[in-house]
Symmetry: C2
Subunit: 560 residues, 2 copies
Amino acid sequence: MAKKSSLKVILLGGLNEVGKNIMVLEKDNYIIVIDCGIMFPDDYMPGIDYLIPDFSYLKKNSSRIKALIFSHGHEDHIGALPYLFRDIKDCTAPIYATKLTLGLIKSKLNDNQASEQFIYNEINTDENLRIGPFNLKFFRVNHSIPDGVGMIIKTDVGTIVHTGDFKFDQYPIDGKLTEFAKIAEAGKEGVLALFCDSTSAEEKGYTLPERDVGKTLHEKFTQAGKRIIVATFSSHIHRIQQVLDVAKQLDKKVAIAGKTMLKTFKIASELGYLKIPEDTIIPITKIDEFPLKKIVLLSTGSQGEPLSALRKMSLNEHTRVQIMREDMVIISASPIPGNENAISNTINLLLKQGADVFYESIAGVHVSGHAAGEEIKMMLNLVKPKYFIPIHGEYKHRIQNAKLAGEVGMPVSSVIIAQNGDVLKLNENLCRISNNLTLQNIYIDGFGSGNTEDIVLKDRKALSRNGIIFITAAINSKKSEIIAEPDFILKGIIYIDSFGEMINEAKQLVKDLILRCFKNNLTNSSLIETNVSDNIEKFILKKIRVKPIIITKIINFNAN
Amino acid sequence: MAKKSSLKVILLGGLNEVGKNIMVLEKDNYIIVIDCGIMFPDDYMPGIDYLIPDFSYLKKNSSRIKALIFSHGHEDHIGALPYLFRDIKDCTAPIYATKLTLGLIKSKLNDNQASEQFIYNEINTDENLRIGPFNLKFFRVNHSIPDGVGMIIKTDVGTIVHTGDFKFDQYPIDGKLTEFAKIAEAGKEGVLALFCDSTSAEEKGYTLPERDVGKTLHEKFTQAGKRIIVATFSSHIHRIQQVLDVAKQLDKKVAIAGKTMLKTFKIASELGYLKIPEDTIIPITKIDEFPLKKIVLLSTGSQGEPLSALRKMSLNEHTRVQIMREDMVIISASPIPGNENAISNTINLLLKQGADVFYESIAGVHVSGHAAGEEIKMMLNLVKPKYFIPIHGEYKHRIQNAKLAGEVGMPVSSVIIAQNGDVLKLNENLCRISNNLTLQNIYIDGFGSGNTEDIVLKDRKALSRNGIIFITAAINSKKSEIIAEPDFILKGIIYIDSFGEMINEAKQLVKDLILRCFKNNLTNSSLIETNVSDNIEKFILKKIRVKPIIITKIINFNAN
């Protein structure tokens, strides 16, 4: 019998962060890609739209990519797909996803480019999917978006299980329980490696069921004396469903505020994931035709995003909705790390306009979509893998997830804390890190992109901390003359009382410096520029204890 | 009998934020100032050191300031005092504070300027303090720094109570209980208005006692197989005391890492607030002389601050301490909003170096220093004020505090949600907002300062988001000639593939624009500059969908 080839799992993203999830499986010249997400930047990356995975490895091996498979429709799992197709022009691998995920992917790709090259395949979770040496079985999971799946991937060297993003909800809104039996069956047959979501591994116990939020919403809706505004993630279809259902029960009308909310609302209802109760939805243009007590607004902006509907309302800049005293605002989401200030700000502004605001710290208006500690342990006990590889999370989340494995008795040697770029080599009864690809974090800003170690980001940070000074002058180096006086343009420099005085002093210093250069036979204008910049930097630092970027431009007329 | 003059309370800070606490009391030409703190900036204010209150009103009335009184020694209550003395040069009002607070104030003022003009008075909490029409009585409270007090201030129109920052700890580390009896006595005699800390008003129930942290520390210290590193606020003397005590019990040695930690350690132990157990402290230079298991490091950096000891350790840049596998790091603090990312980052880096890290989300290694809901209600029930004015907190915290007042039966009309700058007028049985002073948020950056609506901050934000482009050229407007070709300098602009091409196109466009100006007899260089900037802005936006700041400098030689 020929020796079996090993299975390679290449972790291209999602392991040093929450976001940018992507995993590559490779065997016998077949490559399949699981998920392809973006990540939102933190405050170390001013002005950046988002980050995408480094596709270099996939580009190099594009002809071998046989399938792009998606676990669910969140941006951190599907958002980078347009960039994959942008970077790998000859990619013709079919896309596999469940119905709703596929709908969201289609909408995303259609926004970006022509759709002829895309081949869409809807995943039927009752059927196996065979792609070369890979035999895939999908199991439904619960999450904060419907139609999420995990995957059982069989190969001749062993089976691996990928959880996707999951939690266990014992009575989910759509009635679709996590398919425990499929997972247990795989566990019984033997699993080589489990790749498991770590996002909420720090949380103890169990994540509360989504229906608990529905109960709180019902309570709040009953209490509300005037309008109700609920802000949540536009992809949180079950949350939206609960808002609609409670509104219907209490004979209220729901209007939608915010573009992305309208868009996913449309996709989800067309595909049957959102059941719109009769006589409940009204266009936002009609809200004034109903009594205040009848109105529910379903809005974007649960993260305090700058251009979202709720943010505009808080700033009194929304064209249709002016906040009134006693409007009830429910922020049905928890802050994504980094958004805390923006959300607090929005809450403060809404309160100042007289709204009554309910948000996570003071009311049970949100539950997480990710498994907490006990659920992860349950997953481990169902799958009983030989090896456990925490994915989806920062280092601290994955370390915590590894500890959970220890708590159910897995030996330390069976738990692999991998890094982005790690290549795992799997054989029968064996899984180890065999290599590491050097990856870059690629950022997207407008039409441009770069990597996050880029000088551009360093400059942006320096500019924002200390500002910039631009110095111009013109000289005639042949005649050793200054023919246009030094001029200073400042941006982002803080003022002191004696500001004008300081600039005059600095201008004189520039003249002195230029003349000294002439004296020393230094006539090359770029050398003079460096000399001026260095000295003015020292001068400014001494004067006002800040260190702006200094740029000097000396125009040299070499006429005799 | 002559009509009694009313009491004015001017709220100069701490009401739209957590920080910048300051309150002014005024009666019969006497002014007393309670607290004078700074606030740390959020990410909307890049590069700013901190914010201070607007002292304009105090400057205008400086001769009437009779006392500067402090509730406790945290930066958000004492940190702006050097700036008050800088702005009000003729201020000779004596400083009143309890022993430790006074020690911290002295150290702060000595760092900044000559000390002859400062008059220090130590508060004795057993004695009343009479300042003109004000009769002050101090009551000890519990907080995350020792020696905190609240104030009962009697005047002929009524009594007001100021809680300071407080919580109720039933068995505090220093044995000094909150002086409930004094508060109750004031309540019994009748209180016109209560000014109450709102920082933790969103939290339900009671804040856990400080000793609970001690228990957890003991547990962790016992488990630790190697070195222990505890990071906390340098001013959290009781936390530090518990670290010392547990170390002593377990026969470990404590070394200090971080300048501010060394400084407050020195002040607090000299003044007797820190009892250093015998044979426990060692200099950090000696840590290698003891077995790993004996070492406890007490470190700054619990907020992930860039230059702190813990941050340096996480980056492997600390000169004395290299993190080793199985070092136990305990972050004994909770994130101040805005610091979440910096802290997570530090934790991830420490974990990657092999340390075992315990922090708030996964371990009970911190409790708050502020009263939660039930404690605030208890304060209300002790004081039984006619009017209730939530202070110290963002709008949402103060709204929540107001709701607590409602829960103990205070009518809505007795609760005043004031703003920074509000002037309260108090008479017998009356308290109302009579006026609002327009205040500016003053920021400090190096030697300079400004207000936060400042164009400088807007520029910094714009610079950080989109970068800047400088364009230079020289012309002879008399001859309608371009005599130095346009030159582009870019900072913070992201790259696209065809970058060089775009800049060449832009240079040609600048030439065309200048020549068109000549054609239209537009020879004023500043008009040409505006024309160039506007058109290049549009060009760049179209090309790469970003909107940098564009600055054009055209040097005009008017020679014939």
